[in-house]
């Protein structure tokens, strides 16, 4: 089951650039939340702060409180453990090129020293089914490299890989921006199904996509969160003039 995330006074820097300025946000459990905004507004940095990937960059820094349920992830937890519980799907599919499809999906478990074959088999099958990829790849699971799949298949494999470690939250950083419309719609269907079990945060440049998959939407601009509300409200009756300008296409 998913778990909610509570963000209080989150600030983030890259070197001296203040990328995120005092973000306060509640991400409800088992809902999909979309983050929209022009390029460079801090959406990606924000999701990277949620699973402590931000700090893997040596010049990056973050302050504030991020709570997953009752757990303060910056104070009471190990970043490696947090990343296991908060999965991430990246903008471009990033399969491990030396691994088979099977090993790619099982990598989160295998690289953490898990070796039980029966459980691995079962997890790989379940994850690939959840990611709507099982039927397409079940015959060459161990024969083909993950990098040999098409872009859309690779991205669904990366989603399966993230699901295989059984996270509670799934962060998706523009998961469909490098894909064609057919693959995009498959990914969206998938998000729609997955949100019954996971808390999903999806960064997107595509406002129709936000409208299709997310209950709530947050609008980011220049490192600040301008507005956060139900998706319906944001797209039909935004409170802030800047949100309205952005969604009507007047800038960005």
């Amino acid at each position: 089951m998913g778990v909610g995330i509570n963000v209080e006074h989150l600030n983030a820097w890259y070197g001296t650039t203040h990328t995120l300025q005092d973000i306060n946000l509640r991400l409800p459990a088992n809902h999909a939340t979309a983050l929209i905004g022009p390029s460079g507004c801090g959406k990606s940095t924000f999701v990277r702060c949620l699973n402590r990937m931000h700090e893997t960059n040596p010049i990056a820094r973050a302050t504030g409180v991020v709570k997953m349920g009752d757990l303060d992830i910056y104070k009471d937890a190990d970043p490696v453990e947090i990343r296991r519980r908060i999965g991430m799907v990246f903008q471009r599919p990033n399969p491990f090129p030396t691994m088979s499809i099977y090993d790619n999906v099982a990598s989160g478990l295998k690289l953490n020293g898990f070796r039980n074959r029966a459980v691995l088999d079962e997890t790989v099958e379940r994850s690939l089914k959840s990611a709507a990829l099982w039927e397409e790849v079940k015959d060459d699971l161990k024969k083909k490299s993950g990098a040999s799949l098409s872009g859309g298949q690779q991205q669904r494999m990366c989603i399966a890989r993230a699901l295989a470690v059984d996270p509670e939250v799934l962060l998706m950083d523009e998961p469909a921006s490098a894909l064609d419309p057919v693959s995009t719609s498959k990914i969206e269907d998938l998000i729609f199904q997955l949100k019954s079990q996971y808390t999903i945060v999806i960064v997107t440049h595509n406002m129709q996509q936000a409208a299709r998959v997310a209950e709530n939407t947050g609008f980011f601009l220049n490192g600040k969160m301008v507005e956060f509300d139900s998706t319906h409200k944001i797209f039909t009756n935004p409170k802030d003039k800047r949100t309205e300008d952005y969604i009507t296409g007047r800038f960005g």
């Binding site: 990343r83 296991r84 990246f90 399969p95 030396t98 990598s107 953490n112 024969k143 490299s145 890989r161």
Partner: protein, 310 residues
């Protein structure tokens, strides 16, 4: 509006609306003839360079076969050198000796080289120690092999005696810089996105380096190790004061040991025709040994490659 200078927007009748068509096409014609010529010139130069690279290798092999093959016989591979004045004899001890010295060198040089390369690429980015290691490796790469031999002589041989181990250490020192820099460069070509994928799955950093970065870069790293191996396999100078050479059988790491390059050197500068012929045969065997071991490692390394793996 397109900024592409080759894009001609169509006019109402389907003809380009921008430039007079006859001028454009003449310009294109002249230009395409020039491009055609340049394209073929460059391709030709590339082909010529390739041939120039291959010719010396083939020439050396053919010449060695011509000079050395006739002296190759079973005794060459099974006997130790015959005493001066007696015909026959072989280089069995030198082949085994080379194998032992190279094994010692590889066991020390490859782990140290790869380890230093991993530090430079994965952990030392932007650190002062990394710059120092990188600089040292580059300088070490330029140190003449005879100097390495003398240095190891001073460290391990002086006051004790010549040994196979000292020879191995000298060759290991020569292998390290090549392996370190190749490992660093190969790791740098591994896309950052793949490391992030592993970190994002909750895989610890050390495990990511080991099972993802190193594994992805392994074909290049193996090539680097083979280059280093092939380079030191034929080195004579670092062995002169370390392994020293031996006319008899020795498998001990603490005793002087024969090695093919040393044996070739000793025979080549001797006044006897018979020994000259053996030196040719030894050279042929040395080159074939290097080629075979490089090929075997390549075959072994490419085993189990997956369909579509990059």
């Amino acid at each position: 509006m397109s900024t592409n200078p080759f894009h001609v927007p169509p006019g109402g009748d389907g003809t380009p609306a921008r430039a007079p068509i006859n001028m454009r096409s003449r310009w294109m014609r002249i230009n395409s003839a020039r491009r055609y010529a340049v394209n073929h010139l460059i391709s030709g130069l590339a082909l010529l360079s390739t041939i120039l690279v291959i010719v010396p290798l083939v020439a050396i092999l053919v010449y060695l076969l011509y000079k050395g093959a006739s002296s190759l016989n079973l005794a060459f591979f099974t006997h130790i050198p015959a005493p001066v004045g007696e015909p026959g004899g072989g280089m069995a001890n030198a082949m085994v000796g080379s194998g032992i010295v190279l094994l010692v060198a590889s066991l020390m040089g490859i782990p140290v080289g790869i380890g230093a390369g991993v530090y430079l690429a994965e952990f030392g980015r932007g650190k002062a120690l990394a710059s120092a290691v990188r600089f040292t490796a580059d300088v070490l790469n330029g140190v003449p092999s005879i100097v390495v031999g003398i240095a190891v002589f001073g460290l391990l041989v002086e006051g004790r005696h010549y040994s196979a181990f000292a020879g191995g250490v000298a060759l290991a020192i020569m292998m390290v810089p090549t392996i370190t820099r190749t490992t660093e460069e190969m790791l740098a070509t591994v896309p950052h996105a793949i490391r992030e994928a592993a970190l994002g799955l909750g895989v610890p950093k050390w495990r990511t380096v080991l099972s993802v970065s190193l594994k992805t870069a392994s074909p290049g790293i193996i090539t680097g190790c083979m280059l280093a191996f092939a380079r030191v396999a034929g080195e004579t100078a670092p062995l002169l004061f370390t392994a020293f050479g031996n006319q008899f059988w020795s498998l001990s790491l603490t005793q002087p040991i024969a090695a093919l390059p040393l044996q070739i050197y000793a025979y080549a500068i001797s006044p006897y025709d018979e020994w000259h012929r053996l030196a040719w045969a030894g050279s042929l065997v040395l080159i074939v040994m290097i080629m075979v071991s490089v090929t075997l490692v390549r075959i072994y390394a490419s085993r189990g490659m997956l369909k579509g793996a990059s």
